[in-house]
């Protein structure tokens, strides 16, 4: 299990920039404004910024933690090393469950958007089937191909969807931004709590860390990537604040998609169809990386070949999508993912770091005594 990876499977450290960004931005980008502005109103952008800064700290913490893992391994080998085979295994299974939940939520929430906006009558299973088949095709190409998909999933949407946001400036009401700091710290902190979920996704780093060539040097790219994510969320929230007023936004589920209706060109209307279509490229890396992480945990934990486990995992996800199609189910799954993700990143990882740090200290002092 401790085998180090052959160099040709590794990726350059700067690709972390694309992977982290691709996994952070997902379906949430289309509709994160409403809960945020319910809490913090025009000060929602502060919540975006604060949550982003907190993410920086957590990324830093994760790199510190992973530096402790034996022979540059991932979190599964770290668990095993510090908690023994059984308890460490249980912790890793918890992680597996989280990744499964994340993959499932991503898949379902995007399919819901497709259903609501584009194909209300078409069976959702068709989309999940294609998604999952493509997922298998990517993952069977190895992590390099997964990283490649993340690359395209960042570059193409940035080049095509992002410029469309500028059309909203035509109708901007800049006075919507005022008064600044009109909300209490508790309100803003509540919004930060809502927002933190949108930054989740970088925790898959716990699994793909051994696949990075010269992994510690990739930390600056992870931070740079987070800066880009903060920037994108900030731009979107600011445009939403100046475009919508508070009453309007309470009635819109996906404000970003509604923003995409603004552009008018002579030969095409309803740009949101294009946005939703291209959004496949944004959502797809989220799903693929999560499923990849699942297969990787299974391989590390039970030594099952990924070629065997992957079809089973994908079939489970597919069967899952058949049963939970209701909006309320999806809402519940989003809640669970959000809560467990925040717990994992905000509570578990810091605690684990403290534990590992103390253990190492104790070990060192014992060695010195001898």
């Amino acid at each position: 299990m401790k085998q180090t990876l052959d160099e040709r499977f590794l990726i350059s450290p700067f690709l972390v920039f694309f992977i982290v960004h691709a996994t952070q931005v997902g379906v949430g980008m289309l509709g994160f404004q409403r809960p945020l502005m319910e809490d913090a109103g025009q000060d929602a952008w502060m919540a975006v910024l604060l949550a982003g800064l907190a993410t920086h700290v957590l990324i830093w913490l994760m790199y510190r933690l992973l530096a402790y893992s034996p022979s540059g391994g991932d979190i599964v080998s770290l668990h095993k090393h510090y908690f023994g085979r059984w308890f460490g295994g249980v912790l890793s299974i918890g992680l597996l469950a989280y990744y499964a939940l994340a993959a499932f939520t991503v898949l379902q929430s995007y399919i819901e958007i497709i259903k609501v906006w584009m194909f209300p009558l078409m069976g959702a299973w068709q989309f999940s089937l294609i998604f999952l088949m493509l997922t298998y095709y990517v993952i069977s190409g190895g992590f390099r191909v997964v990283a490649g998909l993340c690359f395209w999933g960042v570059v193409i949407p940035l080049a095509t969807i992002f410029p469309m946001m500028a059309f909203a400036f035509e109708y901007a009401q800049y006075r919507n931004l005022l008064p600044v700091l009109d909300h209490s710290p508790t309100q803003i902190l509540k919004a930060v709590n809502d927002m933190a979920f949108q930054y989740l996704g970088f925790e898959v780093l716990l699994m793909y860390y051994p696949f990075l060539k010269n992994a510690p040097s990739s930390q600056k790219w992870a931070h740079a990537s987070n800066v880009l994510t903060i920037f994108l969320y900030l731009v979107v929230i600011l445009i939403s604040i100046i475009f919508y007023n508070k009453e309007q936004i309470a009635h819109i589920t996906w404000p970003t998609l509604t923003l995409a209706k603004i552009p008018e060109v002579p030969f095409i209307e309803r740009m949101e169809y294009i946005v939703i279509s291209i959004y496949v490229l944004v959502v797809f890396p989220n799903l693929v990386v999560a499923v990849w992480a699942m297969a990787r945990v299974v391989k590390q934990l039970f030594s099952i070949r990924q070629r065997r486990s992957l079809p089973v995992l994908i079939a489970c996800l597919f069967i899952g999508t058949l049963f939970f199609e209701e909006k309320s189910d999806i809402e519940r799954f989003i809640q669970w993912t959000s809560k467990s993700g925040l717990f994992l990143i905000g509570v578990y990882i810091p605690l684990l770091y403290v534990y590992v740090w103390v253990v190492e200290k104790v070990k060192k002092s014992l060695q010195q005594k001898q």
């Binding site: 194909f119 690359f151 395209w152 002579p266 030969f267 169809y273 959004y279 496949v280």
Partner: protein, 503 residues
């Protein structure tokens, strides 16, 4: 000729001796060395097989050396002219000069009794390689040379060596095919191409077990990294300038006797969209036409799927002003958009296939009959809409802008999956297909090098010659993704020198 200056750069610091020179030249399998004894004289003859006219060599040089030398034992290298009836004979002691001459098709004669000296007799076959018609017909360019490779491997090697005048150009010969025993030559520039690449290519070709090798295309398919892909993994070209450019960039070329094409590997996806003409035009124009070509490819792949997606599922996307013409042209059409598109696409495929199989003169007539008569009649009969006719015809036109035939075929092929996806799932289907295509391309490798480089893995430094054909002052560096052994094609400092205003 700027790209040959890596040779100029290392202006040979130490003097080369003659044995060293022969040793150096012997690496190439077309270098021939003949030694024999006539009377009391031991003599050696050296030449490049691919450059020398065998008739001249036999009738004018070897014949006289063998017959007349025994009768006139006093003949030295200096007065060789007395027995050899060739106009240009020079005697030289300078190994560098000899090297240059021998690479231009001179025959070197040396006597054992006069070491360190050699006579250079011109026997270059200037006319070799100019068959009746060796125009580049399939990779035509308006500017630039029009001489292409022919079916004779000797000619091809000759053409290559005439442009790359350095002993570092190495030809490695092998026999492939249990029945045909075809001569296959791997060409590379020593000191530029990565040894790893050369080794992989050699190994793969040596491992071929096949009966008759008709064409390079067969070798191409057998040595490809992935046989299930519609995309060509090796560039095949009939243009000399393209092959030379590839060799100078650190790629390896494979020639096969009986094939007018050279295959070049490792290749990247973007190699297939560059045309030698880009390099003949000023860089602004070259880049512009290259961008047009990329746009053409995207248009060709996406035009008819988008038509299907919009007209089948997303008719809300059509603006009011455009709705009138579309309704007007489609109101008589009884089919759903998919069938309409497939009907026209297949018609165009048929025309293309028929045009390619027929003699040139008939094909032209067929093009007119097919293009105008069938197209017009289809619309009149109400089988397809005028707008679609325009879209499909434009898409077909756009797919022909790809300079490499194999790639243009692949592009025509991958439209059909896109059409099916668009017909099933509209815009989302197209996005799925794009995803699938990107993943597929991301998985491909050519000789173990990633196919999508410099995009993925991203190599920002190598973007100078992808979408934009940068000016020559910026392209001194070789693309690093082939891991060439020497970094620069020519001195970047010289190329970059800029004078101040009014100086």
């Amino acid at each position: 000729m700027s790209f040959l200056s890596f040779f100029k750069k290392k202006k040979r610091p130490s003097q080369l001796t003659m044995p060293q020179l022969w040793e150096k030249l012997r690496r190439s399998s077309d270098f021939v060395e003949v030694s024999f004894v006539v009377g009391r004289k031991e003599l050696s003859v050296y030449y490049f097989d691919s450059l020398v006219d065998p008739k001249v060599l036999q009738e004018n040089i070897l014949c006289h050396l063998q017959n007349d030398l025994s009768r006139r034992p006093d003949v030295q290298l200096e007065n060789l002219q007395q027995i050899v009836p060739i106009q240009r004979i020079e005697v030289s002691e300078d190994a560098a000069a000899i090297e240059e001459k021998v690479l231009k098709g001179f025959v070197v004669v040396s006597f054992r009794e006069q070491p360190g000296k050699a006579a250079l007799i011109s026997a270059a076959n200037e006319n070799l390689g100019l068959r009746e018609n060796n125009d580049t017909e399939n990779e035509f360019s308006v500017v630039g040379p029009k001489v292409g490779f022919v079916e004779n491997i000797g000619t091809n090697l000759h053409l290559l060596r005439r442009q790359i005048v350095t002993p570092n150009l190495v030809f490695r010969e092998m026999m492939i095919g249990s029945v045909s025993k075809t001569k296959v030559v791997i060409a590379y520039i020593d000191g530029v191409a990565n040894p790893e690449t050369i080794r992989t290519m050699t190994q793969r070709i040596e491992a071929i077990d096949f009966d008759v090798v008709f064409d390079n295309a067969i070798i191409d398919q057998i040595i490809a990294d992935n046989s299930k892909t519609p995309f060509p993994l090796f560039l095949s070209t009939e243009r000399i300038d393209r092959a030379v450019y590839a060799l100078v960039s650190g790629q390896v070329a494979v020639f096969c006797d009986g094939s007018p094409y050279a295959i070049i590997g490792p290749s990247t996806f973007f190699d297939f969209f560059t045309s030698p003409e880009d390099y003949s035009l000023p860089w602004v124009l070259g880049s512009f036409f290259r961008l047009i070509r990329f746009f053409g490819v995207m248009f060709s792949i996406l035009a008819s799927p988008v038509y299907i997606a919009v007209l089948t599922y997303h008719y809300e996307m059509i603006p009011e002003d455009l709705l009138g013409p579309i309704i007007y042209s489609r109101s008589n059409v009884p089919f759903p958009p998919v069938l309409e598109v497939l009907f026209l696409e297949i018609t165009i495929e048929l025309l293309r296939e028929a045009g390619a199989r027929l003699p040139t003169k008939v094909a032209q007539t067929l093009g007119i009959v097919g293009g105008i008569v069938i197209g017009q009649a289809t619309v009149d009969a109400g089988l397809a809409s005028t707008i679609l006719l325009i879209v499909v015809a434009l898409a077909a036109l756009a797919s022909f802008t790809t300079p490499i035939f194999k790639m243009s075929n692949s592009i025509r092929f991958i439209r059909f999956p896109f059409i099916l996806f668009a017909a099933c799932w509209g815009g989302i289907g197209i996005a799925f297909a794009v995803c699938g295509l990107l993943i597929h391309l991301g998985r491909l490798q050519s000789l173990g090098y990633p196919y999508l480089v410099p995009f993925y893995p991203l190599r920002v430094r190598n973007f100078r010659d992808t979408f934009v054909r940068s000016p020559y002052s910026m392209t001194a560096e070789r693309p690093t993704f082939f891991r060439p052994q020497s970094r620069f094609r020519y001195d970047p400092e010289n190329a970059k020198q800029k004078r101040d205003i009014d100086e």
